[in-house]
């Protein structure tokens, strides 16, 4: 038993998951990402979708020991051991929690420039769920 996002809901959210489409408020211009029905700045309800650059800096992070991540990632942890997760300050303002990839854990530090990439997150019902991970940004 694990937590669950149905395939229709997953399909409907691919824009924000893989293309980082934020909800830009028509009233105040603030980005709400991940998207929500109400603007988190002014509580407006009309939006246009706008892509975030995917560039940002590491706000904080952790390296989770095998068995310490949610059950959905047991398979991944069985293969890779520890799993690095961070919160990224995106340049447009929103923050996002995501796994950190293609980086040695010793090289992680607060402030590290990172960029978004699309990677496999986990499998559910035989379907691979892709999502955003962050890798070091060579040319920020």
């Amino acid at each position: 038993m694990t937590s669950y996002i149905s395939l229709p809901l997953y399909a409907a959210s691919i824009g924000q998951r893989l293309r980082l489409e934020a909800a830009r408020c028509s009233d105040c211009g603030a980005f709400t990402y991940p998207q929500r029905p109400v603007c988190q700045n002014c509580h407006g309800r009309s939006f246009s979708a706008e892509r975030l650059s995917g560039r940002g800096r590491l706000h904080t992070y952790t390296v989770i020991a095998p068995g310490g991540a949610p059950a959905e990632f047991d398979h991944q942890q069985a293969m890779t051991g520890a799993l690095a997760v961070g919160i990224i300050d995106l340049v447009e303002g929103p923050r996002l929690t995501a796994q950190l990839a293609d980086v040695e854990v010793e090289d992680l530090h607060i402030g590290l420039a990172m960029r978004a990439v699309v990677r496999r997150l986990y499998d559910q019902e035989g379907v691979i769920r892709y999502g955003t991970k962050f890798v070091p940004d060579e040319a920020p």
Binding site: T62, V63, P70, T97, Y122
Partner: protein, 390 residues
């Protein structure tokens, strides 16, 4: 508003109890609370019962409040389950306080329960760790060990807090639990061993976290004017506050403080007409060690920069200026999720009455006690202030 008194409080020992049912555990907690009422009390007097539980032991039972009430001999009381993650029974307590304060009922019960040992590990990992923004935190790769670890890392970066200070919370609370027979972990822990424990989510190790446990707790409340006939030493609920906040850590402007707690604390202090400096003893929500350091600042005991030092200097130890988690806290007394909030109240009631059975852990002459109960990583929080009998 009517003044509100606590006349009885009790809990089961917090233990792994695969042999005990939810019904048995809750009935035992209610029995402990009823028998704590000095001059006798008929539980049938209880008109409303608020029972905190995250997930009824992972079983997602419906009509859970009436089921627990029936088995505890409270059939007929309007019973309901209250859910706000790990703050479930802090919120249940708030509801019971308001039921009495509003004049609606004469007697109300607040309690909480969780069984974490019933399901096999694989299924447990499904229902635990669902009190954050599951879609954007858990399914990105982390639940609470990682979330609190990221708070800890940022606290170290921004406020100079050290790994030793964070682990020191576990060392202190484990030392307190040695004398508490209700506590789950009663072996002391050295700082050396805490720091040498295997990593859970860097910078937090296994000694910085709570384990699996089962338990229940219950508190009985009534109008202040009725309390004197039932007990010699009623404890007054003088302050009550609750708050919530964005659920995901990444949506907070500052991730080293919990605004839900700050909102709840502000209400609690204002309604009690006291200041943080007036608090003599506190039970705070140390679900992870770093959470206790957050609590020091969120509750106004010190600034964020000073939190580590407050711990280091022994001010929050038994015998210090402001003893925190003399019960052992969640880390050592145990954290059966839904039972924690009213478990904290139970400890404070006994401390403020001077009726702690183990005299070596009785805090002398405490006047005001504060309970701080947090849901998830701060999506919700309840803060209550209790006053000792005159």
């Amino acid at each position: 508003m009517t003044r509100v008194a606590i006349i009885g409080a009790g809990q089961t020992p917090f233990r792994v109890r695969p042999d005990a049912t939810l019904k048995e555990l809750f009935a035992a907690a209610v029995e402990a609370a009823v028998s704590d009422i000095r001059h006798g009390f008929d539980p049938q007097e209880i008109e409303e019962a608020y029972i905190g539980s995250l997930a009824t032991g992972g079983s997602q039972l419906g009509n859970f409040g009436p089921l627990m009430a029936e088995n505890a001999g409270l059939t007929g009381a309007a019973a309901q389950r209250v859910e706000n993650a790990c703050a479930s029974s802090g919120f249940a307590f708030r509801d019971a306080v308001m039921a009495v304060a509003s004049g609606r009922v004469r007697f109300a019960l607040a309690g909480g329960i969780e069984k974490m040992s019933d399901l096999p590990r694989a299924r447990n990992r499904g229902w635990l760790g669902v009190s954050g923004d599951v879609e954007w935190e858990r399914l990105a790769g982390t639940n609470f060990p990682g979330i609190y670890a990221m708070i800890a890392r940022r606290h170290m970066y921004e406020h100079g807090t050290t790994r030793g200070q964070i682990a020191g919370v576990a060392v202190k609370n484990r030392s307190h639990a040695v004398a508490n027979p209700k506590a789950q972990l009663r072996k002391p822990l050295s700082l050396e061993d805490a720091l040498a424990a295997p990593m859970l989510a860097d910078p937090l190790g296994f000694c910085d976290a709570c384990g699996i446990t089962d338990g229940a707790s219950a508190v009985i409340l009534c109008r202040w004017e009725d309390a004197g006939a039932l007990t010699d030493r009623p404890v007054e609920v003088v302050g009550s506050g609750v708050g919530s906040d964005v659920v995901a850590l990444h949506d907070r402007a500052v991730c080293t403080r919990l605004d839900a707690v700050r909102r709840a604390a502000q209400q609690a202090y204002a309604s009690a007409e006291v200041e943080p400096a007036d608090i003599d003893i506190a039970e705070v929500h140390d679900c992870f060690t770093i959470a206790e350091l957050l609590a020091y600042a969120d509750l106004g005991f010190c600034s964020e920069e000073e939190a580590g030092r407050l711990l280091d200097e022994g001010e929050t130890r038994l015998g210090g200026r402001l003893p925190v988690n003399v019960s052992g806290g969640l880390i050592a007394k145990g954290h059966p999720i839904g039972a924690t909030g009213t478990g904290q109240i139970t400890e404070l009631v006994h401390q403020l009455r001077g009726s702690v059975a183990e005299t070596e852990r009785q805090v002398p002459d405490a006047r005001y006690g504060l309970a701080h109960n947090v849901g998830g990583s701060g999506g919700s929080a309840a803060v209550h202030i209790l006053k000792a009998p005159a």
